[in-house]
């Protein structure tokens, strides 16, 4: 279907040389026509498809190079493209000091940029470009002037130091001229793009606004005319790079700029105008401040112009983009000069009022929110309604707008500290924010990896855990919500699906409304979760739901890692209970249950290791869980770990409240389960219990017995019985012979260990100083360390 690039790499070297010679001949001809263009294009394809950079024969290279200044644009384009794929001839690497750089066409400039090897190269290029700007326009071919700004802008992106202070001042002045003082009459109607005024002199016609009205103020990108003058083009190019320019050279925080206004006034030698409360003519301000003032005015004008009803959709779209840009630039200049805030806010506030009820302007409202966040406090403006939108309506109603999601989440990431300080509802808004994730997990999971830690608070952690576990349900619900708004109720395609009906059924409304809630705080979860899961059972293979389910384990890890730092035991206990409860209460997606259990298991271990007394605290619930034989079969993963923590941490050395009675009741519960699973066939539909469960139970029983020696005979009896029973060969509860051998071996080890209770205790319940080495604090270990230290001090050379 598509031309295979690989075809050309199979070209033989000899073929290639022939091609080169043919091309050289073509280029030597007087008239360069279609064949030459096609051949050059073919050459480009060959060169770009190969992995290793080729060198062209010098003669061909020189010929191609000369095409860079051809009057026919096709040759400029192709020669630039070809040369970008080859190595420059030695000695000719990027002539950045050419006299005629100002005559450079755009395509030759592309080549120069791509060949730049150092900051010095780029600095030279900048210097040359600015020299051409300074010279009078009539001396310079018109087109090259417009490309100066884009080229400078691209260099600035990577290396602002390429411009000297003088250059910056010059550009500040030029930008002011182009932005504020461009011609307000229409250019000649020449069809070539308006650089030249028409041959017939006309009565100057003023430019128009997008709604047809005559322009009453200075020229901006939202003004139209039949043709445009050169300075009007420069107005467009200037505005297009203005924000970046201001951010690079005017920002208070930029590396180049000084952060202190006092410093700046000293350097400039001029008085920095701090009070510009009145709209000054700007004539007396230094260039930098002048540009700031003119940018301010330009933005205000754009905001006014964006209220006009444009005749074409592309212009309406442009108005939106201009609003975004204008608000961003205002934000930028207000950062520089705080007094501008008082002039800007009325306008921003009015804009907000105008747009806030129209969701199609959501992406414009985000920069406005940024403005409020940065300057609202200073202006003592109430930001409530802004946050209601950002954390309320936007996620709730626009969760399926990819671009809004991307920008809103980026806004949160960039302003996290500020938001946590100043917007209390941020941490409560996770039910809403997670809607972005539930809808389009792959696209935004990265953002939530960054944001989730900030959403974990002691007060809402439990609710957040439940919400994360039910994200796939939220995903399904959002799909149903979208479908129900798109499709009529009696849509035939909906027949056969239970879930849309359930969604519309009033008796289940509460369930879905809970999932769709906007704020945390009204309850950790609902009672009828199992009902909800049943209703949504058929959604378990919907792609969106599956994609969402795949991201939940990762988020859970982040959640638990965040919670564990600095959480109190009460919260951790509560979370353990949630883990136990939810391990069977999940939407039935293949592998989901297993993955969640895996996450739970690893964090249960971590919790208990850090706070062993949790086990005694929650012993009742843990025992209830461990004593239910059904859990062996349905929740093998987490069951094993619960048994393990019981065995490991239910001891006096971990928590002094651990009584003999507690140990005994735990023992009895586990013993009963072990008896049951090793004496009968697994229940119908279940696999044999995993060998790991059996051995963990045995080890736990042994550990408990080593702490309360009365229990030892019971364990020993069981273990010896086990050995006898299994001598017969196979058993109903273990299908694999190797597994059975492993289990029996473990049983034998424990049995022999328990024959010497004292030893068993040391091994199975080691005292803390064995498991947590204390190094120099340990009297036994300390002496050698001290001696060594003293020796090295007294023997120091």
């Amino acid at each position: 279907h598509y031309h295979h690039g690989t075809q050309s790499t199979i070209i033989q070297e000899s073929e290639l040389q022939k091609f080169y010679s043919r091309l050289v001949k073509l280029l030597q001809g007087k008239e360069l026509g279609h064949e030459t263009i096609d051949s050059l294009q073919r050459l480009h394809l060959i060169l770009s498809a190969t992995k290793y950079t080729r060198t062209l024969p010098p003669e061909l290279q020189k010929k191609v190079q000369s095409l860079l200044s051809s009057p026919k644009e096709h040759f400029q384009v192709l020669s630039s493209a070809v040369l970008r794929e080859t190595l420059p001839l030695s000695g000719q690497e990027g002539n950045y000091n050419q006299e005629n750089i100002s005559q450079l066409n755009s395509h030759a400039a592309v080549l120069l940029l791509s060949q730049a090897g150092s900051r010095a190269d780029l600095s030279s290029l900048c210097a040359q470009l600015l020299r051409s700007l300074e010279s009078r326009q009539s001396e310079v071919p018109a087109h090259s002037l417009t490309h100066t700004l884009p080229i400078l802008n691209t260099i600035l992106t990577l290396s602002p130091e390429c411009l000297t202070d003088d250059h910056v001042t010059l550009l500040n002045k030029k930008l002011v001229d182009w932005l504020r003082y461009a011609s307000i009459t229409q250019g000649g109607g020449a069809s070539s793009g308006g650089f030249f005024t028409g041959p017939r002199s006309r009565q100057p016609v003023p430019t128009a606004e997008l709604d047809g009205a005559v322009s009453g103020d200075f020229f901006t990108v939202l003004c139209v005319g039949q043709g445009f003058t050169e300075d009007q083009w420069m107005n467009v190019y200037s505005f297009s790079m203005l924000r970046h320019w201001l951010l690079t050279y005017h920002s208070v925080l930029s590396g180049n700029g000084t952060a202190d206004t006092d410093d700046r006034s000293e350097v400039d030698g001029s008085v920095v105008s701090i009070v510009s409360a009145t709209s000054s003519s700007g004539r007396l301000l230094p260039p930098k401040e002048r540009l700031r003032e003119k940018s301010f005015q330009y933005c205000l004008r754009l905001i006014e112009q964006s209220d006009r009803k444009a005749h074409r959709k592309t212009d309406t779209d442009l108005q939106k983009a201009c609003l975004v840009e204008a608000v961003c630039i205002l934000d930028c200049v207000c950062e520089e000069d705080a007094s501008l805030v008082f002039r800007a806010f009325p306008c921003i506030k009015a804009l907000f009022g105008r747009l806030s009820s129209d969701l199609s302007f959501a992406r414009v409202l985000l920069p406005i929110a940024q403005f409020y966040l940065n300057h609202g406090e200073m202006a003592a403006v109430d930001c409530e309604s802004v946050w209601k939108l950002v954390f309320g309506r936007f996620p709730a109603e626009l969760f399926n707008d990819h671009f809004l999601a991307h920008e809103l989440l980026r806004f949160l990431r960039l302003n996290l500290k500020s938001l946590q300080h100043r917007v209390p509802q941020y941490t409560r808004s996770f039910p809403n924010l997670l809607k972005f994730l539930a809808w389009d997990s792959p696209a935004v999971v990265d953002d939530f990896v960054d944001l989730l830690p900030s959403l974990v608070t002691a007060g809402t952690a439990v609710e957040l855990l439940h919400t994360l576990l039910d994200l796939p349900c939220l995903s399904a619900t959002l799909v149903l919500q979208v479908r129900s708004t798109c499709l009529p109720i009696s849509e035939p395609g909906g027949r056969g699906l239970q879930s849309p009906d359930a969604y519309r059924n009033p008796s289940f409304r509460g369930l879905f409304l809970f999932l769709l809630r906007g704020d945390a705080g009204s309850g950790d979860t609902i009672d009828r979760l199992s009902t909800l899961h049943e209703l949504l059972a058929e959604t378990a293979d919907w792609p969106r739901v599956v994609q969402c389910a795949q991201t939940v384990p990762l988020l859970l890890h982040i959640f638990f890692n965040t919670v564990i730092t600095g959480a109190d035991e009460k919260l951790l206990s509560h979370l353990i209970l949630v883990m136990l409860e939810r391990s069977s209460l999940l939407l039935n997606i293949p592998e989901y249950n297993k993955e969640i259990q895996r996450v739970f298991s690893s964090h249960l271990l971590r919790f208990c290791k850090l706070h062993p007394s949790l086990v005694v605290d929650q012993s009742h619930e843990l025992l209830e869980f461990a004593g239910a034989t059904a859990n062996v079969y349905s929740k093998e993963g987490i069951y094993t770990h619960v048994v393990w923590v019981l065995g490991e941490y239910l001891s006096v050395s971990c928590d002094s409240r651990c009584s003999v009675r507690l140990i005994t009741s735990c023992f009895e519960a586990l013993e009963a389960v072990l008896f049951e699973i090793t004496s009968s066939v697994p229940p119908p539909g279940a696999d044999c219990p995993a060998p790991r469960v059996v051995t963990t139970l045995m080890s736990a029983l042994a550990k408990l017995a080593s702490r309360s020696h009365d229990l030892i005979p019971r364990v020993s009896l069981f273990l010896s019985k086990l050995r006898t029973l299994t001598r017969g060969g196979s058993v109903a509860w273990c299908s694999d012979e190797e597994d059975l051998v492993a289990i029996v071996t473990r049983g034998e080890e424990l049995w022999s260990l328990l024959k010497a209770p004292g030893v068993a205790q040391s091994v199975l319940t080691p005292p803390p100083h064995v498991t947590t080495p204390q190094w120099h604090r340990d009297t036994n270990v300390a002496m050698p360390l001290r001696l060594r230290a003293l020796t090295s001090l007294t023997h120091s050379q």
Partner: protein
């Protein structure tokens, strides 16, 4: 600043491995960011070119993955359009944006905006602070022109042999990666120049 513009495949092509994307057009803007990084400063031009190609390949792969996940989730049925139906193809196109983390593959975080027209992806990689509304509009416009001038909807696409046309288009609508605020009049003027170029 736009860092690059790509045209690549976004669904299975039999000659490629799963997940791979064939690059039909690529263009990096501006100087190579490698010359400012300590790691890449010492590279010679040939090595630099390889690194650039690798970067672009990474972007294409990530976008391809994002497109297929997005299409899977929305369970879209791809409507086959034929030459002449470019406007329809564009209307039916799905779109999205991929966050490219810092270092993967550009030294700073980037936003890759994509437009999926059937089996083709058109991708614009911008710095995230860029005006994404404007970028989105520019991407749509570029895609429309590419579809029209390069006959991309039919059999036997000519993209590979007409890269100079895309170069010329970019030099007007996205010069050196600069997004432009063009109202319909300015856009018309530039598009006239593009049409004149394409006609020759």
């Amino acid at each position: 600043m736009v860092r690059c513009f790509l045209i690549h495949t976004v669904c299975s092509v039999s000659a490629l491995g799963a997940g791979e994307s064939r690059l039909l057009y690529s263009r990096l803007f501006g100087p190579d960011e490698g010359i400012f990084s300590d790691r890449e400063r010492g590279l010679n031009p040939e090595e630099r070119r390889l690194v650039q190609k690798e970067r672009i390949a990474v972007v294409a792969r990530q976008v391809r993955s994002a497109v297929s996940l997005s299409r899977e989730a929305s369970a879209r049925v791809l409507v086959e359009t034929v030459p002449g139906e470019e406007a329809l193809a564009l209307q039916e196109a799905d779109s999205g944006v991929v966050r490219l983390r810092a270092g993967d593959p550009f030294s700073e975080e980037m936003s890759a905006l994509w437009l999926g027209v059937q089996s083709l992806g058109f991708t614009l990689v911008c710095e995230p602070h860029e005006n994404l509304l404007l970028a989105e509009g520019t991407l749509r416009n570029l895609t429309r022109h590419c579809l029209e001038h390069l006959h991309m909807l039919g059999q036997g696409s000519e993209v590979l042999l007409r890269s100079n046309r895309v170069d010329a288009l970019l030099s007007r609508l996205l010069p050196h990666g600069q997004l432009l605020f063009l109202n319909h009049r300015f856009a018309q003027a530039l598009e006239k120049e593009v049409a004149a170029y394409m006609a020759k």
